[in-house]
Symmetry: D3
């Protein structure tokens, strides 16, 4: 049994509050246990210079933690004057993952920026950000669709993410901070609603891991992401109805 009483294959309590922000085209407050991330989607009717005139849109993400999202306070990156390596790595991951389920031609020449701001962190902030950012993205795309601005529906599938790890010889799903800091292996998995892999990032800095351990982690991740996608569908309701209806 885990320190918070969960089974190895059990997700933490999951909560979603839609529309916490009155300005954003899509927004969600997502909670996985004590990890809380505010995700907003902003639609901008133009694309970055490298895409101009190609008839395609763009989806990108930014990630940040409030200074006191963690046990000890972190200095703001605005004061350091630059983004740290961890932040860059995470926001590149979120953007890349989301784009894997977006038909950029169908989106048209516009950019959707997903801001993932971690209000409180207790492990799994990058995976929770992906799961939440997908919901905010879906709300924004739904808004475009309702406004008649989309000829084809650009979301080709659902997308969610979870962390898995090995701790005390046991594969565990959805690690909290305490587990994460003790785990010998840590893996972040992003999958589509259809069950395909989008990202697999496993790290065994403390201790290399075997093929068998990887397989056990992947199985937990598959099951966990299946449940997260079901929760996303429930949260989005009608706003998610057209997702995947128009495969790329």
């Amino acid at each position: 049994m885990r320190s918070d009483g969960r089974q190895p294959s059990e997700l933490r309590p999951f909560a979603v509050t839609l529309h916490p922000n009155k300005y954003a085209e899509g927004s969600v407050l997502i909670e996985m246990g004590d990890t809380k991330v505010l995700c907003t989607a902003t639609i901008d009717e133009k694309v970055p210079p490298f895409l101009k005139g190609q008839g395609k849109g763009w989806v990108t993400a930014e990630y940040s933690m409030l200074p006191r999202a963690t046990q000890t306070r972190n200095q703001r990156e605005s004061i350091k004057g630059k983004l740290g390596g961890r932040t860059m790595e995470i926001q590149r991951l979120i953007g890349r993952a989301l784009r894997s389920v977006v038909n950029l031609e169908a989106l048209g020449e516009r950019t959707i920026t997903l801001d993932c701001d971690v209000l409180q962190a207790d492990g799994g902030t990058r995976t929770t950000s992906i799961t939440g950012a997908f919901i905010a993205l879906a709300l924004a795309v739904h808004k475009l669709s309702v406004a008649g601005k989309l000829a084809r529906y650009p979301l080709t599938d659902y997308l969610a993410s979870v962390s898995v790890g090995v701790l005390g010889g046991q594969a565990l799903l959805d690690l909290n901070y305490e587990e994460d800091s003790k785990a010998k292996v840590d893996m972040n998995v992003v999958m589509t609603g259809g069950g395909a892999f989008v990202e697999v990032q496993g790290t065994g800095e403390e201790s290399p891991f075997s093929r068998d351990e990887m397989n056990r982690m992947l199985e937990l991740a598959e099951a966990g992401i299946g449940r997260l996608v079901a929760l996303q569908k429930e949260a989005l309701g009608e706003a998610g109805a057209r997702i995947g209806g128009n495969p790329a």
Copy 2:
């Protein structure tokens, strides 16, 4: 009558949620109408280099807006690589204002940092930050006191802030964004619970103002801050009982 139906001397709906953050030594989510600011207080058991060995503590503040706190998205200052002038001005103001009611000797050689992160902005973010940051500060100081770490109580008074302005010849209290952008004069006032002025910052870029207009604005501000201090007292309850009991 104002666009949101308020009287000229009426504050917007005020809400305070204590302890929204499980790590910070003090935290509050403060709402003035649609302006929402998350304020956390972090205690650090050391002081900045310029104060070392003087037996005094320090109180400082940082201010930031989430990118989509506003109608259109703002670029993050971490990505610009530096703080803008507006941010610096505001966080210097918040820190200075809070220190006016702190006996730094009584605080002892420790630093309290107030982070004011604006989740949603609808005018008055700097004044709301001051009002909220005082509550978070009071919670953190109370915690120190309960832990027996304070010989004397360092908070010498309550502190709150509000904006006032002149619009259409009429002095108005607590401007929302729409009013603020149309006002000919804009003034931010910070006062103590005892009714003394800590900061008065009036700007008539659009149109210079008269002594009489200033007086009318100051009267509205005095009354409004009086009500805000009453609301702070109610929110803090027992945690605010010793404030001012040990004047500097």
Copy 3:
């Protein structure tokens, strides 16, 4: 009596040298006691991007202190790699104050940049910068006018600034550095030639202040600024003749 022998309501010796710089469209060396600021006005026949095509001009300011303008040497901000909060706050204030007496439509699509470089600092550098920058601005506008480039005269009034404070229970005008560092309250006031307020910034970090103290300071400021405006008129002579002749 004050340490330099002045009366509470007495300004420091005031001196103005016109045209110290042979390239600038307007320039002045202004001295208030030992505070010396070189102010130059540069006219650029274009406007910042946010004003393009609106038929309006822009007036902006930059402020800097030479490293040894003060008793101990300050590191250059060019070497720190960024402007400090104090610098940003001051240059925003100078620009905002000057714009309050400029009819930007009458100025036409051009930018006037006022550079205020403090050669020596002895208190009141921001207020002296405003008073001097107005003269440099007036010289530059006069030059445009003489060259027949202005249909309407864009300066709607004179503008000057002074500091006031409370020290030892006494309200004092035009504080020098020694007084400023001991004062319990410090207020910077900017007013037009016509006696209206443009900026009032009072700070009581050391000690909150009463409405009565504010009133006494404002009275000193009004009288002092009246004298400064008279001195500006004398210095500008014919070059100031059309100021205010064409109210916005």
Copy 4:
């Protein structure tokens, strides 16, 4: 058959030049096809602040590409004034991977920095950097050992890395740039000499991938890394004799 005539499971020509730099404690020029990376190891007899006094050493890496390592010239990051996200991600990966086979206690309170400078890039620069950096690290550790500075041997195993991908339905080993830019999936794998996984990073931005595709890629990677480790052993010869002789 691949564009350069290789079999799907075939590595590109591999070449190693030891000691290309006369100053570094270890250095190697590694070539995988047209990808050429200069790796140097620098020993510094102290540790970063966060490790001080713990009796442990540190291994870290930096990665950079010369501006014309690629088909079109890239701007230097020193001129941009900051490291890009890709650079940070790669150098964090290299450092983390190397540390997985270093017993930091056995290394003692010293830091080894691996500089990986890409002279020419044709795909797989990060994996080639890891394979080369391990050799440079081993040379530096050997030098410490020969000098009698190590009580225990700190390298617990060999370490190498390779990329794999799926292109045209076929899993391919060691992608060159042309293949990499067309592949639907791209995976970087780092493994120990003993065959355990240290990092697995698979990305399907263009197209999500199946468990079966992942398995086929991992098999190619395992075989390829086995061959790279054999080549490392041959290159290091006697200098690699004690690696793994003293497991953590």
Copy 5:
């Protein structure tokens, strides 16, 4: 005859105002024609980290131009966020040149920083800065000496600098901006009072130059610097009496 009526071997009018700054340990306003540089010397009773504990002092320089020192306004380097290459080159030159006549052991463990701020530029700002900075340095050293803080006198000789060039086939001394921008060769020469070379920097970007042209320029420079040193002696008077009395 030159555009300003000078002979080829004639210096521009030279003026020196001592002590323009009331705080600095040494200060001078130097004018060579319309080029005006304010030079201040600051004594700091400590040395940079690389010199700590060696019983030696340090002399360094910083150089900057006010934004409107030139015909068109230059952006401040504090706003660009970094020093330009030209600034760095010049301030390295000034510091290096000054140190050539300072016995750093005799100076003792203290740093003298020379700030050279160009108020107005009309060619030769770097050479004028050197000539002026030497005077400010001599004043500061004299002050140390008078205060009894120096066992030996650290200045081993006078030092001055001038520019020379070739224009229309004619070698010219002390070029103003107009001449400088048309010259085919431009050379800056720094020499000691004793007539030895400290720096020779000749550049023929527009047109390479011959050994004969170099010789003619060096002769002009030698004569010009001789006259500048005489002027420095006159300006310093008694404060320069011990210079060179204690050769290194």
Copy 6:
């Protein structure tokens, strides 16, 4: 006799490897003793903004040292976030020197960027960079010429550079690092194939130098550069045939 057995007027062993980089329009690895510099030339079919529409091209250079090019490791400038003064000075020198033998009109509206990356440093990196960069530039221009893109040949002469110094009263050619760090005078000389001076930069920070010493150094430099130009001709062969055939 010198520490490495050379005569005072003897160059170090000189080696040139053409085309070490498969992408660059011109590239060379140049070695002067243990100093090794990789020089690449990149042609870009546009010019910097300040040259747009003038029918002229541009030649510029960048210089960098790998972190472990030297005996002790240097921090990367990309991590410091800015170029140091020495780097800026050197790359400005390289660009300026190269432009002195380029007819920019004949080059046409294109930019050639020379990247000089020091792989190993043993004195004379800036002079070796110039000598090598000229070869890379000549290869790139030859390529343009062969492709029929040049109406006139833009290279007006050969260009090479060497250092000279005075050590133990003896003038020496081509100093290595050990000699350079002990020399009382250090001079870098750039000359054309025709024997004219392009840059002369002599520095006597440790000890001022006489006209006679300068003359002896210049003579050594002239002879040394003559030999370097002969070696450049040999290395370029046919690719250098048109250099100087079309004087500016």
